[in-house]
């Protein structure tokens, strides 16, 4: 009963909100209803809140477009009795508007994602409408963008207590507008600079990252920007907001400031993953990231792997002279690389770095030998890449063929001349060795790996293998590949078992018994 009653009550409220909204929009006389709606918006019921947000949206968009709140200049003293009724009404309405905005901004942190989204949409609609129909007179030289409103919104989005990443995801569609982007970047930069010397929480950093990650730039390299959410300022006036360069400057500063913070590992990795692709191309000078990347590269492990990509871009496109690049790359060839999450990226980059035919053969030989050595402990998914990788290296550098085909020197060697513990690829004597590892892998349990390794006996390929399909291979892929085939013929054992452990070839008996 109680729920029914509550339900009835709720329906009443909803109807009331609807009616009030309609009345308010119809005549000024009923405007006091706005206060009621604002008070309803303090409720915690989801449906009521949604209805309120919709009501706000409807009313104020109408008021804004109709210029109900437009004032030539805001009177200094609002309580002045001498003001005309009209002005008084407008000032009152303005107050209501401000209250509504505050209310909506609070709702951005609501626990219901639908309310969050609706509030965000409403606010952005306000931004849009207000930008087109300013509440005060703004000279045409200035941007019409309602900065105050938007700053409030951004502050909320970048708050330090709630994780708003999903909401920011929704926010992304507005980031396509140049003016929105400009103000977002500006707000972010200001905020970051404010917090520069503090240690903000992970939530804050995550929110910032979510915003920065989603900032996108138009594909065309045109200097002047023309996509605006609000009214476009006049052409002849050069505003900061309309120049791409200014955007990029803000973007760069934001990122650099952001990266100066102590990032949590998870965020660190995500940052490194997108850095080369989504950040570097839009920075005024990517070399500013050099310190960050170098530092990351020296950390080792997966972070190094990821930093590799950024460094590569710097080296390749921005003429960064990185000392001992290949030495460090060599150090990254660790057995654990096959198990790393970013294995595909690593091999892709390593392949890229070693594409050059101008590398000295001993260096390439060292890489080949090292890769072969770590392959000994690699899963078959890794081996499907590493073996063709080695073949490609040898193919590119015919001098390395001695690794597979040694005609001179002693016919029997006791120890492998290769020194796996030597960090310097130039001193590890790889070229005096042979790739016995591949010989071992010929008897690998996986048929594809074994077959691939068997190529060292004959003539290895005359063209390079395209590795791009192989980078992502996983155990699951291998399993699928084996099971996908239609079974046409299955040999079976001919020896009848005498039980679970009763077959002749049984080895489980060694360590187990059926009890």
């Amino acid at each position: 009963m109680a729920t029914k009653k509550a339900h009835g009550q709720k329906l009443d409220i909803l109807n009331d909100i609807k009616a009030s909204t309609n009345k308010c929009t119809e005549s000024r006389k009923e405007s006091n209803k706005i206060i009621d709606i604002i008070s309803y918006a303090q409720s915690s019921d989801k449906d009521v809140l949604l209805a309120c947000v919709r009501a706000f949206h409807k009313m104020f968009v109408k008021f804004l477009t109709a210029g109900e709140m437009f004032l030539e200049m805001i009177p200094t003293d609002t309580t002045d009795k001498g003001l005309s009724k009209e002005v008084q009404y407008k000032v009152w309405l303005m107050d209501c508007y401000q209250d509504t905005i505050d209310c909506l901004i609070q709702l951005l942190r609501s626990e219901y994602s639908s309310i969050q989204e609706l509030a965000l949409c409403t606010l952005m609609k306000f931004v849009e409408t207000e930008g087109k129909n300013p509440v005060t007179k703004i000279s045409s030289k200035k941007s019409h963008f309602p900065v105050a409103l938007f700053t409030k919104l951004m502050k909320q989005l970048m708050n330090t207590e709630t994780n708003l990443q999903d909401l920011i995801g929704k926010f992304q569609e507005y980031l396509a507008y140049d003016d929105v982007r400009f103000h977002v970047l500006k707000c972010t930069m200001m905020d970051l600079k404010e917090k520069r010397n503090t240690t903000p929480g992970n939530l804050y950093l995550n929110n910032i990252f979510a915003i920065l990650e989603r900032v996108s730039f138009p594909a065309s390299p045109e200097e002047n920007l023309t996509t605006f959410l609000t009214t476009q300022p006049d052409e002849d006036v050069q505003l900061k907001i309309a120049t791409l360069k200014e955007h990029k400057r803000l973007f760069t500063t934001s990122w650099v400031t952001f990266l100066a913070f102590q990032l949590p590992t998870n965020l660190y990795r995500r940052t490194l993953v997108i850095l080369h692709d989504k950040v570097m191309p839009y920075m005024t000078s990517p070399l500013m990231l050099c310190d960050f990347l170098t530092e990351s590269y020296n950390i080792g492990g997966a972070i190094s792997l990821l930093a590799l990509n950024g460094i590569f871009v710097l080296v390749q496109q921005y003429n960064l002279d990185y000392p001992d690049f290949y030495g460090k790359l060599y150090a990254l060839f660790e057995p654990s690389v096959f198990h790393a999450k970013y294995r595909a990226r690593f091999f892709y980059l390593a392949d890229l770095f070693l594409t050059s035919t101008h590398l000295p053969a001993y260096l390439v030989g060292a890489f080949a030998k090292r890769l072969a050595r770590i392959s000994l402990a690699a899963p078959p998914s890794g081996l499907t890449v590493s073996i063709p990788f080695i073949y490609n290296l040898i193919h590119r550098h015919p001098n390395c063929r001695v690794l597979l085909h040694r005609t001179e020197g002693p016919s029997e060697i006791h120890d492998d001349p290769y020194d796996p513990n030597e960090p310097d690829p130039t001193k590890c004597h790889a070229m005096e060795s042979s790739l016995w590892e591949l010989k071992t892998l010929q008897s690998h349990f996986h048929p594809d790996v074994a077959r691939s390794a068997q190529r060292i006996d004959g003539e290895i390929q005359t063209i390079e293998t395209d590795l791009s399909d192989l980078f992502e291979t996983s155990y699951d892929d291998l399993f699928d590949k084996e099971t996908r085939k239609k079974v046409k013929f299955v040999p079976v054992n001919f020896e009848t078992p005498k039980g679970l452990l009763g077959s002749k070839s049984d080895r489980i008996k060694l360590c187990w018994r059926l009890e």
Binding site: D416, E459, V490, L514
Partner: protein, 873 residues
């Protein structure tokens, strides 16, 4: 014969002779050849004479089809059964010779002879030939036994039918004073006297014979006695080697008559046996005795002597003979088996038990199974015996159980009130029968059915049930059985894995199920392999989901997956380079080894099991599995004492830091320990407490197993080129282990393994050399020879030989099919023509008749009219 030996020259000459018949050029149709190919045989298709061939075809149809059509409603037909009439290989002379010989060989006199040796006539079930031996066979010596009681030939010739005239003419005087009557009396007297004489003589000889017989018997007795007493000891010793051999040979030759039964026959017998047992069981459960009801005889043949001589309760019901469509109608239950070999079947029934034992001897495979069967049989036989002894004699007195018909029981109890003891025994039998398993089971369609079926039974009974299901549905018994069994295997495998999940796991039953699964897999490898593969796929999918949720880290599987994987090397060969089941299984195994972090003791146990499985997978092929080496290395890492601030290098899934890095470190030092293989149910159980294995006993056992496996793998991989590199991390770990902590047996083992690995590592190697390229051979211009050329180009030569063959056959089939269709069409046309012709003939005839009648009527009418006209005038 002379015809056949014609000279070749003759042939040639005949050929060269232009045929006398000149072909009308308008009748010849020439098929144009598109391309003239040199050397191709002139095919017979390039020239045809459609008119001629059509007329030929029609003529042929007139002889065959038309004839058949005319005869279609005729119920009797002339069958020429003359010898060799339809044999085209014989010429007339040969036929005649044969027929003559056959005729001669028929001995007509024997046709009605009762003493034919081939047939054994019976009366009251006893051989007549035996009955004919009267009490004391008085076999007269004189051969012409037939004319006993008749007048002798001489007499007849002299006295009868005027014969006497010839003799009596010598003394005509006598003739006068002897009347006809006297003469006849004389004749009679004479014959009587003769008869008497003969009888007397016979009696005399008989007496003499008997005397002689008795005397001889006495003599014989004396002789045999003396002989026996003399030779007895000697004889026995002598009878050994030679006699034995002879006897053996004798029996052997006799044995040749029996044919070894085929698998299907065996299966059928088995099924029949089970059917019969089921029938018996059901009857016993209902409380009926074995021969409670006298089998009713539905049909008595004329030859049936209802003498009860061969009263056999197991005789099956007879059936009325009836025919339909010229075939003997059979009763429905087992018509198929009866129609073929009635007698054989009965034999089978009788001998099924013997056969059973024979089977056991014949194939070792079924030994276990057979033994169980025997046991069952024994028990059943016991039951049978019981029922035989107790309920046989007083079947009518049986008072039925509560659930049985009460009225009847009342009446019967009134009749014989002394049946109490039997009643008790009877009850026992019935209970036993109820406990006893049914012999026939429906194959469970879905898994739940199987579970429901097996739920309430003990492990042994479950096994029996499954076994019986398999036997009842042997593929040779019915058409769909094979498929049913395949589906059943799926459920069985599922059951197998679910058994492993029970607490405690029913490993005994699993053990036995393995054999059954093995047999089913042997029956139809491909579908069953698919089923097992599907199971593995499901597990892998599950594992994949776990990995997705846990960021690439898996969980060690429960015992069911482990045992499912264990099933693979039992059923399928592991040494294949690539195998549809084994390869995915091993990939899955290694995946788990590589992706599951070791967090507690059970993980170690499961990992060890997987390593052991890997060992089994590659023990024959000696293939290299890096994951196993990594895992064993990781286990050693768990064993070694850790130094502070120094991280050892370990491979994923092991981590250099964490709470679980000291899982296998012993608490205390152990002097001695009794090592034995680990118990599966104990350490692989997922239900157990996490801490239940946190003791040194498990650690020692795990270490022991780990060392064993390392030893096995090191000897397996000793021939690898890089054995040193592969095992160097393991060797490094071994060096850190304090051997003295461990019992002496384990310590020795460790030292031995270390030494072995070092020994294997200490090998020289040769630098790699690629194979020299073979110099390419010069191209040869030998023609490509096709083994069987059938004038057809093979479009897709690259495809396999089998496929080519299949395509060829398909083509041939198509061709034949087309031809056959054409022929049938032409037949139909011909028939239609014929029918039309017949119809037209009949119409013609009818019209003629009608016309004639009309004519007749017209004339009558005319005459009548004429008469009418004439009358008034």
């Amino acid at each position: 014969m002379a015809k056949k030996k014609k000279n070749i020259s003759d042939k040639v000459r005949n050929k060269q002779k232009p045929s006398a018949k000149k072909i009308n050029p308008f009748e010849v149709k020439i098929n144009r050849v598109k391309h003239d190919v040199l050397g191709r045989k002139i095919s017979k298709h390039d020239k045809g004479m459609p008119g001629l061939s059509r007329s030929k075809a029609i003529k042929k149809r007139e002889q065959t089809l038309s004839h058949e059509y005319d005869q279609r409603l005729k119920s009797n037909k002339f069958v020429d059964k003359r010898f060799g009439e339809n044999d085209t290989n014989m010429n007339v002379e040969e036929k005649m010779m044969k027929r003559f010989a056959l005729e001669r060989s028929h001995d007509k006199s024997k046709k009605f002879s009762l003493n034919d040796e081939d047939e054994d006539l019976t009366h009251y079930g006893q051989s007549l030939s035996e009955i004919e031996k009267f009490e004391d066979p008085v076999v007269s010596d004189d051969e012409n036994d037939e004319d006993r009681g008749k007048i002798s030939g001489k007499m007849v010739s002299e006295e009868h039918f005027g014969g006497f005239m010839t003799e009596t003419q010598d003394n005509p005087a006598d003739q006068n004073h002897k009347s006809w009557k006297e003469k006849m009396e004389e004749v009679i007297a004479k014959s009587k006297k003769e008869k008497h004489d003969r009888q007397m003589e016979k009696e005399k000889t008989l007496a003499l014979t008997e005397k002689l017989d008795s005397e001889f018997k006495e003599l014989m007795m004396l002789m045999s006695k003396s002989k026996k007493s003399k030779d007895d000891p000697e004889e026995k010793t002598k009878a050994d080697d030679y006699d034995m051999a002879v006897r053996e040979l004798k029996f052997e030759s006799k044995g040749e008559g029996y044919r070894l039964k085929t698998e299907e026959e065996l299966a059928r017998e088995e099924k029949e046996r089970l059917d019969k047992l089921e029938e018996d069981r059901l009857r016993r459960m209902r409380g009926e005795g074995d021969n409670d009801e006298q089998p009713k005889r539905v049909h008595f043949s004329a030859d049936d002597l209802s003498d009860g001589y061969a009263l056999d309760t197991s005789i099956k019901e007879r059936f009325h003979m009836s025919y339909k469509d010229g075939k003997l109608l059979m009763p429905e239950e087992d018509g198929e088996s009866k129609s073929g070999d009635d007698a054989d079947d009965d034999d089978n029934d009788d001998n099924s038990n013997e056969d059973e034992e024979d089977d056991g001897d014949m194939d070792d495979e079924e030994d276990n199974e057979e033994e169980e069967n025997k046991e069952e049989e024994d028990s059943e036989e016991d039951d049978d015996d019981d029922s035989d002894n107790d309920s046989y004699k007083d079947i009518q007195s049986d008072v039925e159980e509560e659930e049985m018909d009460t009225e009847e029981s009342k009446a019967e109890s009134v009749k014989k009130p002394t049946a109490k003891i039997d009643l008790k025994k009877k009850k026992e039998i019935m209970d036993a029968a109820r406990k006893e398993l049914p012999y026939i089971f429906e194959i469970p369609a879905v898994y739940d059915d199987l579970v429901a079926l097996l739920q309430d039974h003990t492990a042994a009974d479950q096994l029996t049930i499954i076994e019986r299901i398999c036997k009842c549905h042997h593929p040779s018994l019915a058409d769909g059985n094979k498929h049913k069994l395949e589906v059943f295997l799926g459920t069985l495998v599922q059951y197998y894995t679910d058994l492993a999940l029970q607490d405690p796991p029913q490993l005994d039953l699993i053990d036995k199920l393995t054999i059954l699964i093995y047999k089913l897999v042997q029956m139809s490898p491909v579908p069953t392999a698919n089923l097992i593969l599907d199971q593995i796929k499901d597990r892998q999918e599950e594992f994949r989901q776990i990995c997705l949720r846990k960021a690439g880290r898996g969980l060690y599987p429960a015992l069911d997956t482990l045992l499912l994987l264990k099933l693979v090397p039992i059923l399928f060969p592991t040494s294949d380079f690539r195998h549809s089941v084994t390869t995915p299984a091993i990939i899955f195994t290694t995946q788990m080894l590589a992706q599951c972090p070791v967090n507690h003791e059970r993980d170690i146990a499961a990992g060890l099991f997987l390593c052991n499985l890997c060992l089994e997978f590659v023990s024959l092929s000696k293939r290299f599995i890096p994951e196993v080496v990594n895992f064993l290395h990781g286990l050693l890492f768990l064993i070694i004492p850790k130094e502070d601030n120094k991280y050892e290098r370990v491979m994923p899934p092991f981590k250099p830091v964490g709470s679980s890095i000291n899982l296998l470190q012993l608490d205390t030092k152990h002097r001695s320990f009794e090592f034995s293989p680990m118990k599966m149910s104990e350490v692989l159980n997922t239900e157990m407490e996490l801490d239940s294995l946190r003791h040194d006993r498990f650690r020692l056992q795990a270490t022991h197993s780990c060392v064993i496996l390392i030893g096995e793998f090191s000897s397996l991989y000793k021939d690898l080129q890089t054995v040193r590199e592969v095992f160097s991390p393991i060797l490094y770990m071994f060096k850190k282990i304090d051997f003295n902590q461990y019992p002496s047996t384990l310590k020795e083992m460790m030292e031995m393994v270390v030494e072995e690995i070092s020994h294997h590592s200490n090998k020289t190697r040769k630098p790699l050399l690629m194979n020299r390229k073979k110099p390419q051979a010069m191209r040869t211009f030998e023609p490509l020879v096709e083994e069987v050329f059938d004038e057809r180009k093979i479009k897709n030569r690259s495809s396999s030989k089998e496929l080519n063959e299949k395509q060829k056959l398909l083509h041939k089939y198509k061709k034949e099919m087309k031809g056959a269709m054409r022929e049938i069409r032409k037949d139909n046309q011909f028939l239609a023509r014929k029918q039309l012709k017949d119809q037209m003939e009949r119409d013609e005839e009818r019209q003629g008749k009608v016309r004639r009648i009309h004519q007749m009527l017209a004339t009558q009418e005319g005459e009548f009219n004429a008469m009418k006209k004439a009358k008034p005038s």
